[in-house]
Structures are given as structure tokens and as C-alpha cells.
């Protein structure tokens, strides 16, 4: 379990938890730390977070399963989030989704065979002004046209393989 | 000495014959009524006991005898127990004066086919049929039941009302035949039955005896849908059976009265006189059953109004007309 985070990280997080008035405030930070280190949060990840936070695993799991950008199932190296909320949808996010499925050869929720990309719809990226928006890894792409997708994917793949 | 003995023997034989006939006739009248009513309603009627259900009366008798004889806790025991006997007794006694055939000539003796030829036979008959109301009224009263009491009261009121019409209907017949003896009345009808001579009286009489026998459409005392079973609600077993038998014996008595007074008694062509008498009684009985199968029950106030407001005045008028006619004819 300790392999999920380094000893140092764990002590650091524990210290930060102690400093906050209520450990619940730190749940997201701990979970993000685990996700950043492992790509996703496994059962052990939740249990580790519970130990760090001094909460029950259930209390951590409540948060972990609530947010769609905390991954409780294995994902690829880069996760593609396509916003399908009203603004993006009205500006063609459906087309983007279809195009991406075509390009990657996977259905939403699946990971490419090389473990590079996971395709996920999401309900909002907070980028309504730049609709349609796509987030790949930690990069946000606004005003995406279907034609741009191939180039974006190529650059992201290149970056991911480094 | 010998003569007296013979007379007594004859009377006993007649009594036996008449009682036997009347009682078995009453029993089969029940069966006949059930059968005829059933056929009128497109049913079979009793057909399980014996061929065509002919042993049904026997089965009924056995059943009634075997049933528990219930006496309500707060009933007037003795009156309650005696009331059915009054009902049957009066009906049977009435038969004493009814001439059921022309006098027979056997071994040189003339045997009157009547148990006792009273010269005031008609009055006797009336007296007994009026007494019959005691059985009903006392039975209803002694049961300590509201239904029975109401039934008894109704029976009393109804019988008193229709007795009057009955009496008034007979007066023309007596006036015409100038006798109270039933034999004489029958004799006077040799040429023409009174029914044709006094049609109005006949009509009133028929209606009145229907009411007298408490049969539809005048069966107010035992109106099932209001009074459960009226005056005999609380009776069971053979006591109930006695009321029942009494009712049918009464039907025969009234039928014979109708026969004697209006239908020419035993007179008739071809057949022996007793035969004619029986046929006429049965015809009357059939008519009664037919009425029961056809006419619905009257309302109680209609019943009383009909008796007092129509039958009684009509009867009086009829007497008047008859009297005038008799006077005019001298």
C-alpha cells in the first residue's frame, strides 16, 4: 500500500492534515496526490487516503466516487475529457466525440490498446466561452474543430511517449 | 241396539276415510303446489325422492319429525305448544259437516256421505273457520318474537275483515236455498250451480277464502320478505309441520266449501258423486296454486282497503239485489 505514495509524501500529507481544522478538507488533496502518482485511485489508494486522513475508507470513497475527474478505474496515460454540457453540445461536441472515437478506435470510457488515451465525456470543463472544449491530460483545448483533432492527438501522443 | 252399533261403525269408517283422505290429500297438495309452481317457473320441482318425487311428502314428514323441537326461552310454553294444534284441529273438525257425495244405498240402508248432516252446518263451518284464527294469533303471540307477533296481528285483522265479506257472500246462497244445511244447499244446485246463479257472490267468496287461507296474494301474515316467516317464525319440527298441514287442510276445507256452496257439490254427469266432488276440490286447489304462481302479494293497507271498501259494500249490495229478485219472483 505504501508503494502508492512515498514515505516522504505520506508524512507531508499527514502533517498537512493535522494542520487543517477538519481532515475532510484534505480529502481531495490526498486523493489527487495518489492519482497523480498512480494515474488512478485503487481500493488500496482509498484505504491509504483514509489512513492518512484519519477517516473511514467510506468517507474517502464518498468523495472519490463523486467527482468524475477522480478515476476509480484504471485509465490511460492521458485522459481525454470531452465536454457534453449545453454550450459545448450546441457548438458540436457530439461531432468531436464521434471523430475521436473514429480516430482512436475506442468507445467512450475505453482506453486505447497502447494505454495512451482514455476517452471520457464530462459534464463541464468550465470553458463555456471556448466551447466546444476538450481536455487532454491537463491541457485544455478550446474552440476545437473536428479537423484539428488529429493534430492535437499526434502532439499529445508524442508528448506522452517522451 | 244393533242399529246404533252399525251407525257408530259407519261413522267410524266414514271418519277414518275422510281423515285419511284429507290428510294424505293435504300432504300431496304440498307436493302438487311445489311441482306446479316449479313448472310454472320452468323448473322440475322435487324429483329426488321416489319416482317423480312422489315420496317427497313422506321424506318431509320424517325430516320434520326428526328435527329438534325448539321452544324460545321466553315463550309462553303451553300456548306456544298448543297453538299449532288449534290450527290443525279446527281445520279438520270443519270437515264433519261437509257432504262429499250423494247418499249411497247399501244393503237397503241409506248412507249419507257426510259425517254429520247438521241443519245449521253452514254456521258450524263458519264458527270453526273463525276459530282457526286463534291458532295463528296465539302462536304469534306466544313466540315472544316481534316477527311472529306482527304476523299474528296481521292474520287476526285480515281474517276478521274477510270473514265479514265471506259471510255476506253466502247470504244470497242461503236466501236462495232457504236452508243452512249444506246437504240442502247442494241439493238445491242440482240444475244450476250457484256460481252461475250468484256470480258476484261467487267472486267475493273466492277472493275471501283466498284471504281466509292466508295464501298469495293475501299472505301478509307470513310475508317472508318483511316478517321472516310471520307467525310461525319461531316454530320448528313437527309443530311447524302442524301449521303447515293445517294450512293445506284448510285449503281443502275451503275448496270443499266453495264446491258445496257454489260449484254444485257432488252433482255432475257420468262420474260417481264422490269423484265429482274430488275433481271439483282439486280444480279449486289448482286454481289457488295457479293464483299463487301468478299474482304478487298485496300491500297490507291495500288488503284492508280492498276488504272493507270494496268487498263488504259489494256483498251488501249483492244481498240487496238478491233479496229484491227473490221478492219479485215471490
Amino acid at each position: 500500500m505504501a508503494m502508492l505514495l512515498s514515505e516522504k509524501q505520506i508524512t507531508q500529507l499527514k502533517r498537512r492534515v493535522k494542520e487543517t481544522p477538519h481532515p475532510r478538507e484534505m480529502i481531495l488533496d490526498v486523493l489527487h496526490a495518489i492519482q497523480d502518482a498512480n494515474g488512478w485511485i485503487s481500493e488500496e489508494g482509498v484505504e491509504l487516503a483514509a489512513i492518512i486522513l484519519g477517516l473511514s475508507p467510506l468517507q474517502v470513497e464518498e468523495v472519490a466516487t463523486f467527482y468524475d475527474k477522480l478515476y476509480r478505474r484504471p485509465v490511460g496515460r492521458k485522459v481525454i475529457h470531452i465536454c457534453d454540457s449545453i454550450c459545448c453540445w450546441s457548438r458540436g461536441s457530439e461531432t468531436l466525440m464521434l471523430r475521436l472515437q473514429q480516430l482512436l478506435g475506442i468507445a467512450p470510457g475505453e482506453t486505447t490498446a497502447d494505454g495512451m488515451f482514455t476517452l471520457l465525456p464530462t459534464c463541464c470543463l468550465g470553458a463555456c466561452a471556448e466551447a466546444p472544449a476538450v481536455r487532454i491530460g491537463k491541457t485544455l483545448y478550446g474552440n476545437v474543430a473536428p479537423e484539428q483533432l488529429e493534430a492535437i492527438l499526434d502532439s499529445e501522443r508524442a508528448e506522452g511517449q517522451l | 241396539m244393533n242399529d246404533v252399533l252399525l251407525t257408530i261403525i259407519l261413522i267410524v269408517i266414514k271418519l277414518g276415510l275422510v281423515l285419511g283422505t284429507v290428510l294424505s290429500l293435504a300432504a300431496y297438495m304440498v307436493l302438487a303446489e311445489r311441482k306446479v309452481l316449479a313448472r310454472m317457473q320452468m323448473r322440475h320441482g322435487p324429483n329426488r325422492v321416489g319416482p317423480f318425487g312422489l315420496l317427497q311428502p313422506l321424506a318431509d314428514l320424517i325430516k320434520l319429525l326428526c328435527k329438534e323441537d325448539l321452544i324460545p326461552e321466553r315463550a309462553d310454553r303451553w300456548v306456544f305448544m298448543l297453538a299449532p294444534a288449534i290450527s290443525v284441529g279446527t281445520a279438520l273438525l270443519a270437515f264433519a259437516v261437509i257432504p262429499f257425495g250423494a247418499p249411497l244405498q247399501i244393503f237397503g240402508r241409506t248412507i249419507e256421505l257426510v259425517i254429520c248432516d247438521l241443519n245449521i252446518g253452514l254456521l258450524y263451518l263458519f264458527a270453526l273457520s273463525s276459530l282457526a284464527v286463534y291458532g295463528v294469533a296465539l302462536g304469534g303471540w306466544a313466540s315472544q318474537s316481534k316477527f311472529a307477533l306482527l304476523g299474528g296481528l296481521r292474520a287476526m285483522a285480515q281474517m276478521i275483515s274477510y270473514e265479514l265479506a265471506l259471510g255476506l257472500a253466502i247470504v244470497p246462497v242461503v236466501m236462495a236455498s232457504k236452508s243452512f244445511s249444506l246437504t240442502a244447499i247442494v241439493a238445491s244446485q242440482q240444475s244450476l250451480p250457484n256460481a252461475l246463479r250468484h256470480p258476484l257472490a261467487f267472486l267475493i267468496f273466492v277472493i275471501a277464502i283466498m284471504a281466509e287461507s292466508k295464501r298469495t296474494p293475501f299472505d301478509m301474515p307470513e310475508a317472508e320478505n318483511e316478517l321472516v316467516a310471520g307467525y310461525h317464525t319461531e316454530y320448528s319440527g313437527m309443530r311447524f309441520g302442524m301449521f303447515f298441514v293445517g294450512e293445506y287442510v284448510n285449503l281443502i276445507v275451503l275448496g270443499s266449501m266453495l264446491t258445496v256452496l257454489f260449484l254444485g257439490g257432488w252433482h255432475g254427469p257420468f262420474l260417481p258423486s264422490v269423484g265429482w266432488f274430488l275433481i271439483k276440490i282439486l280444480a279449486v286447489a289448482f286454481f289457488f296454486i295457479w293464483v299463487r304462481g301468478t299474482v304478487p302479494r298485496l300491500r297490507y293497507d291495500q288488503l284492508m282497503a280492498f276488504g272493507w271498501k270494496i268487498l263488504v259494500p259489494l256483498g251488501l249490495l249483492n244481498i240487496l239485489v238478491t233479496a229484491v229478485w227473490l221478492l219479485w219472483r215471490g
Binding site: S56, P57, L58, E61, T65, F66 | -
Partner: protein, 798 residues
Amino acid sequence: MPTLIIDNLTVTVPEGTNILEAARQLGIEIPHFCHHEALGSVGACRLCAVEILAGPVKGIQMSCMVPAKDDMVVDTCSAEVLAYRAQVIEWLMINHPHDCPVCDEGGECQLQDMTVAGGHGIRRYSGPKRTHQNQNLGPFISHEMNRCIQCYRCVRTYQDYCGGTDFGVLGARQRLYFGRFNDGPLESPFAGNLVDVCPTGVFTDKTYRFKSRLWDLQEAPSICPHCSLGCAVIPGARYRELQRRRARTNKRTNGHFICDRGRFGYGYVNHPDRPRHPLVGHRRVTWQEGLAALQNKLQELGELFGAGSIGLLSSSRATLETQFLTKRWATSLGSDQVCFEAHPVRDQGARVAASQPLDRSASLEDVRNCDLAVLIGADPLSEAPMLALALRQAARRGARIVVADPRPVVLPMACERHAVSTDKLARLLRGLSRPQQSALPASLEELGGSLSQALLSARSPVLIGGTDLLGPQGILALLEAAEACSQPEHPCRTMLLLGGPNSFGGALLSADGPGFDSLLEGMEQGRIKALLCFEADPLADFPDRKRIRAALSRLDLLAVFDCAATATVQEADLFFPTTAVEESTGTLINNEGRMQTFEQVLSAGTPIAESAGGSHPPRFFTRDIPGTDPQPAWGTLGALMGRCADLGALRREIEKADARFAGLSLLDANGEGRRIAIPRSRPVALQPAVANAVAPDQLSLLVTETLFGSELLSSLSPCLQEAIPAPFVMLHPQDAMRLKLEEGKKVTLATPLGDLTLILRIQQDMVPGVAIVPRLRGTALESLVPGSEPLPCRIEKA
């Protein structure tokens, strides 16, 4: 106090009342799911919509979220509102599995009621239904997530009200899942309340699974007999079998909920080993024969040795009526050897508790509303679980909870915990009552000072203590401390945890009569030749089992009247079966002095399931129903005294005999009960406690109650067996280290009562120098009884 009009009726309600509750005061029930009186409103289910025609807000509003204001005009069933509700219901039913026939909630399901009331009959939505996998939530609760309507009542009950942390809401949106992180039993001792609060069949009682429908159950208002709090319950029975208990609302005591011990401890009523027939020796006899044998023997003994040779013992399980008649019968026999508790410490403790003026005694409602609760020698979750829940409500309102105890007291919320050894508890209390002249040891000085200050400055403080640990002296000290810490306008209330559901009644009746030790001495000296036990189990309840066994064996006659197969029943010369609480009527007085009556739920009899062997009930007819011999103990006593069995007359007689029971005959089992009239304040003569000498290399052995397995009746309940822990001993890490023992390993506990092999648990929060074992009936720990002076003991590796 706003006045408003609801459905053309005017009502005035306190400030802050919402429209839903205002309407309820008028008798108008607005349909709702998520609102619950104890949990409050969240406005999640959208069903309680009403139309507000005039007032600060208008239009369709959720009645649970809108506080009543002056001049509001509300229409609870306008056409628009009805259509709205019908739509809400239809939405809620979209994913419902429609499995009512195989759902235990059927018949008492709010969703069913609302669906029918909302006029939704045919499912119009033809899309697929969402499904979920269920979890195994342990022996008490069944889980069926497909039926969920996401009202959040369960989470609000479990996490917010009861303080459980292992159950919650997972996922988001359409996928909401109410469950645990993994399969496993729910940890909260109040988990059973999920059954009551769930408006549909997601959580159902596993022990009652597929047994009956509500409409077939015989139900009556009753009292939980498993601790001294006297919580209101509604047991349900069918086919001569007690099948479940659910919570009844009594705002003065338990509120809306009950603990799992109360909910699932009912099984003793149907226990297959329950003795149901009078026995002479071990031979089954009729009541007449049995009673004749008893009376002959008593007469014989009375003639030979005098009436003083007959001792009578009742218990805290017996009803007030039984206790009263026990005393009456003793008087009529001419014996003064009558007592009401076989455990001397609990007996004396209850007598001290009952001898004080009751105006300071706190109800659970007072605890819920307090702003400071100090628990000294009280372990609520073990001794009186609902007190823990009441304390949590106080803590949620911001109250400070302080615990001073040698044991690792666990409460369902955060609290200040001070490990104080047993002998120091009474000194701490004495220090509180006499702060000026206190001679507190240095380690307690700070705590004592701050507590005393806090109690004096709190608005509504409550001082809570348990008889087992404090003993009569401690209880007396606690009462004095409360007195000393009271301000005229802010009295310090007290709550004392007693031994059983009617300890208080027994204490009131015994006054300064003899205790069980004096009866025991009489038995040992041969003065007492006969002991009559009315629902009492001296063999298991008296702390020194060897001594009591020897004393009982000297008796000429041991007659036992009981409803369970207790240890004493095995030894009895004469046995008479009595009814369980649910099988008769009676009165119990809880730890705050509240008289509460309970009604008969079912008639005693062998359950059909048992007598028919699980198959069709018998196809022959008999006049006798099997197993109907048990009689209420007060009825049997009445018969022995030649009285007619008229409960009303008996209650009037009790009222007349003792003014403190005034109002007993007027009690309504459905009501809130009635505090007994204030008793005469009379000091109780206390014997000084004899402390056992503990050598420096020894540990002192402390026996405590546990949630499951300590209380007699609930420990007999088959469905609780799974929850009863394996025998263990708790040690402080210091001691464990000194003795080189490890957590979870088997150890040998050497006590003067014998050697035991137990599992070791290491607990941080307890006092060092003490070994703590739970009382677990029917296990190796059977003979260890709480409430006695700590024994010296040694622990070694097994």
C-alpha cells in the same frame, strides 16, 4: 408565533415551524419522504409541494423548507400541486423494480402509500430500469439498492444522527449508492434504525425477513426491557412468535430511535429452550399441582422454622406489580426477608438513586438538550446505548462532553476523554461536591477544578454516572456533586445508569429493607430455608458465584418464577413459567423515575413455527394451545395470595399504598409515562466498600457490560449471537509492554475465580494497571459479574 391559514383552517405555530409540521398540527398530512421529525428537512424529495396563495413567498413551494409566517395562505391539495406530486412520484418510480410482493416493507412502505395517494398506477416510461448490486450489511440489515429513491434519510440518520462512519452515499447523479466501502456488518450500534427511517424497502430487518406483513402483526405499545432507560418500542408478533421490535416515539425518552440491542434482542421470547411448564424437580406438572406443592412446602417450613425462614427475591426485570405483590406476599407470610435485586452494589446504588429528590433527575430529552455532559464511570454504549445517541445530539448542538472513566469509553462523536481509575472516580466526585476542602490527588486536581467550573457556568449541565463502577458511595457523591454544582437558575441534572429496567421500582419498594447479602447470610447460617425467586437469577447476578451456589444448595426449597432458562432455573426445586414483557401488561420505572406501562402484544404459547416444525400447522383440533402455561408473575402471585387477577384493582391498590406511585392507574401505554411523585428524601445507610488488596505485580480486574452479550434477555436472542464478541481482555499498552504481550494473541487470565484463556486487546484510552474483561453470558467469562470490587489478577502468555 405566526398564525397562518392552511386549507381554510387557521393555526398558530411556534416561530420557525415549517409548513409541513404546521399542517400536521391541524391533522393534515402532507406527503413527504425526506423530511423526518428527528432529522429535519432537506427539501430533496420534492414531494411535499404545496401552493402558497398569499404570504412572503408564493406559488408552489416545498412545505418542509418554508417556515410558517404570519398571514400565509396555503393550499395543500390544489389541482396544480396534486399534478406536481403525481409527476414527482412518477419520476421516483421510473427505476423502481416493482418488487413489492417480495419486499418486506410492503404494507408499511411510504413509497407505496405515496404512489397510491399520488394516483400513479401504470408505468408510462418504457426505458430500462437502473439496477445495483447489493451489499451484505451483516446479520441485522438486508440491503436492496434497486428500491432506493435517493431521499438521503439513511445517510442522515446513520452519519448525522447516529454518528456512524462506515455507511454513506457513494457515486453521483443517477448512480447514487447508499452503502459501505466493502461488504460487512454495519458498525454503528444504532444501524437498525435504517429499517425504520427508510421510506421504502432498501433497508429491511434481516431477522424479520419474509416473516409477516404489518397488517398481520399483533402490535402494542411496549417498553424495551434490555436496559434501565425504558425506551418506547412496538413489538410485533404473529403465529405466537415475537417477530420484531420497532421504535415507538416517546419524546421524553428515546425520541424516534432505539438501539440494536433493543431492536434485535427480542428473540428470548421465542427461545426454543424457554421453559414453558411448571416443573417439580425436573418433572412437568400442572399449575395446580405445582402451586399446591409450593404452598404445602411453605406451610411445612413455616410451621417448623417460622415465617422468617422464607426469603423472597425479585429483580430489576420484574414489573412494579410483581415487585409490589412480592412485598405484599412476604408481609402476609410474615417474613421480612424480601429484596429486589440479587446484586448488592446495584441494589444499594439504585436505592441511593431512588432516595433523592427527583426534580434534578435528567431524562434523555434533557440530555439531548444539555450543553455540558460529564460522564463519570458511565459507559453509555454498553450500559444504556440510547444515552450515547442522546449525548451525540447534545454534541451536535455544541455541547461539551467530558468522560472520566477507567475504561476506553467509546462514544459516537468526539469527546474529552480522561482515563481515571475506579478508586479515583469517587474522589473526583467528592472533589466536585466540596471544591474548597477537596483533597484531590495532584493528577485529578486540574480536571476536578475545570469540571467544577464548567458545571457551575453551564446553562443545562448533566452529570451522568453508572452504578456498576461508582457503587452506592459513588452515586451518593455524584448526587452531592450535582447539588454543589447547581445554580438556582441552572440546576445540574443527574442521570444514573441502573442495573435493569425496573431497578428504580425495586429500590423504591425496598426502601431500607434487607439487601440480598443479608438473605445470603441467612441461607448460609441455615436461618432461611426457602428462597422464592420472582424473575430473579441470583446465581448469575450475585458477584461471588461459589458462595451463592453453596448457599443455594443448603436450601430446603428453591422456587423460581421466570420466563427464561437462567442458571438459577436449572437448580430450582419448583419452577413456574412467567410471561415475557411482550406477553403481559405491567409497569416499569426507568432510571430517571419515569413510570411507563406496557401492553400485551401476544399471548404466551409455543410459536407455530416451532410446534409445527416449520411445516403446515397441525391439521387436528385441540382445546389446548401448546406452551400457554406462562402466567404474568403478578398474576401467579395474586393467585397464591388468593386475590383475583385484576390489574386495574392492583394498580389502584399500589397507588393507595404508596403516594409516590400516584397516577399509576391512569397511565396510557401510548403516552410519555409519568415521573413518579417526588420520593421522601431519606439517607440510605451504606456499608463501606471493602477494596480487594492488589499486589504491585498484579493487575486489578474490572468487569464491564458490553453492548451485546451482557444483558440476560438479549443475550438469549438467537439473532444477536453473531454480534456477541469472542471473550477478550483489554490491557493498556504500558502493561502489555511490561508483560510482553501482543495484540490479538491468546493469554491466560489468572483470577481468584479460576484461570481463563482469552484474546488480548490493547487499548490506548484506558487506565494502566487494570485488566478489563466484558461480561459475556454463556462464555468462559460467564462467572465474572460487573459491579463488584476489582479483583486482583495476573495475565500471562497462554
